[in-house]
Symmetry: C2
Subunit: 255 residues, 2 copies
């Protein structure tokens, strides 16, 4: 009864040829039937962007032993095209990544990897974003693949709470130094941005975004804290951005 | 003592030549010294995207009677360039919009207008996104400008709660039919997406994203509900996406 296998959709933001999505494919392939749509180029930092002013194109890919396409759009476009155009139904699971680099703290908002997972949750599909805390294009994903398999197995057996997805970050440590998995909250860290001001060949000014990641959140309940301790972090992540805790204070305003 | 006037930063996602940002400028100019940086082209649907793989450029603009630039980047890029490169300090207020079209419910995640305000909150600046519930490029912004002035005055006099910004949507109604302003939550509505599949001049397939906005949220506490009743809605919007309410359930998982 192979048609009863879970249908698993894979995407990422580093692009279809990244080692991270190859590693994710290898880790989840044993769990179900796979459909893969990933951007044809790097889409890091694209957040929840969708393409509405340009056409989107899909190109079949033979990089994977499953139905696979590269896409000219963003990670969120890939999820929408997967659900509404390629599969014409909701998959049982959406996985995104494995991102080359951490998506902890407020970086969840900039992350194409995580925005694909958030979009999956908005579509009513259990969804997980995975990130490895190394930006190396040739990083070792062996430990990450083990964490992916463990989390995916659990999600397929459990019922994911409504309205959320999971943000999983895996420390870049030796397997012997890996401590386990912790549910925790998004650290209240931020980027102290800078712009490199440079001149092009026509002497016109341009800017490159750069900066330092600053974590002033001293709580021991955050993703940044647990990753530093050698754990993989899982932050349950919601798309309801309403700040309920501020409502009472605001209702005293004269509006 | 003109140097004690509040410093107000303006951006949007419809681009620097949109009627909405002109209206926003006219509404807030009386309240302070203005710096304006807006995208040089439409950036609707860009969400929290930042530009990291391309250079950014700023071009001085004489469209406004203040320090103003058009920018090749996204709305969030405009905020970062404003704070870190042009002003070299945090403004007293960031306002974004007035968007041509509603940014209610889960649309907050796709919205460049609101992502600029969320970025402002992440930078520690009181920030507000404004949207008019009309997509017309030549819409009448008179009522919207009155709402902007009222909200901006209140925010400058009050202390904005930490970690949030405001998502203000203004109904497209006659002034006589306008009922007032309500604080409320983000409706749990969604897009039932579709893709128009078309052929280009080379007979290659391409896709345009389209779809229907579906609101199954029957609560009378949502932005969609109050706008339908003739009110402007204000949703306090946070960048901490942690789903605290799911934490207890998840901690029972075998991970």
């Amino acid at each position: 009864m192979t048609d009863l296998k879970p249908l698993i959709f894979i995407t990422n933001d580093d692009g279809i040829s990244a080692k991270g999505i190859r590693s994710l494919y290898e880790a989840v392939a044993p769990f179900g039937d796979i459909v893969l749509i990933a951007p044809d180029s790097a889409q890091s930092g694209m957040g929840h962007a969708i393409t509405i002013n340009h056409p989107l194109r899909l190109e079949p890919s033979d990089l994977f032993d499953c139905e696979a396409f590269s896409c000219t759009g963003t990670p969120v476009d890939c999820v929408k095209l997967g659900v509404y155009e390629v599969m014409h139904r909701k998959p049982d699971l959406i996985v995104s990544g494995i991102n080359h680099g951490a998506n902890v703290a407020t970086n969840v908002l900039y992350s194409g990897t995580m925005s694909a997972a958030v979009e999956g949750a908005m579509e009513g599909v259990p969804s997980i974003g995975f990130s490895l805390c190394s930006f190396e294009s040739d990083a070792n994903f062996d430990l990450a693949k083990e964490v992916v398999a463990k989390v995916v197995k659990e999600v397929l057996e459990r019922k994911m709470p409504l309205g959320i997805c999971l943000n999983v970050n895996i420390p870049y440590v030796q397997k012997a130094d890996f401590k386990g998995i912790k549910f925790c909250k998004q650290a209240n860290a931020y980027w102290d941005d800078r712009f490199d001001e440079r001149k092009d060949q026509f002497n016109r000014t341009y800017y490159w975004l750069t900066g330092d990641f600053i974590n002033n959140d001293q709580s021991d309940e955050t993703d940044v804290y647990w990753i530093d301790q050698g754990y993989a972090s899982i932050v349950p992540t919601q798309y309801d951005l309403t700040a309920y805790s501020s409502m009472k204070e605001l209702e005293n305003w004269n509006l």
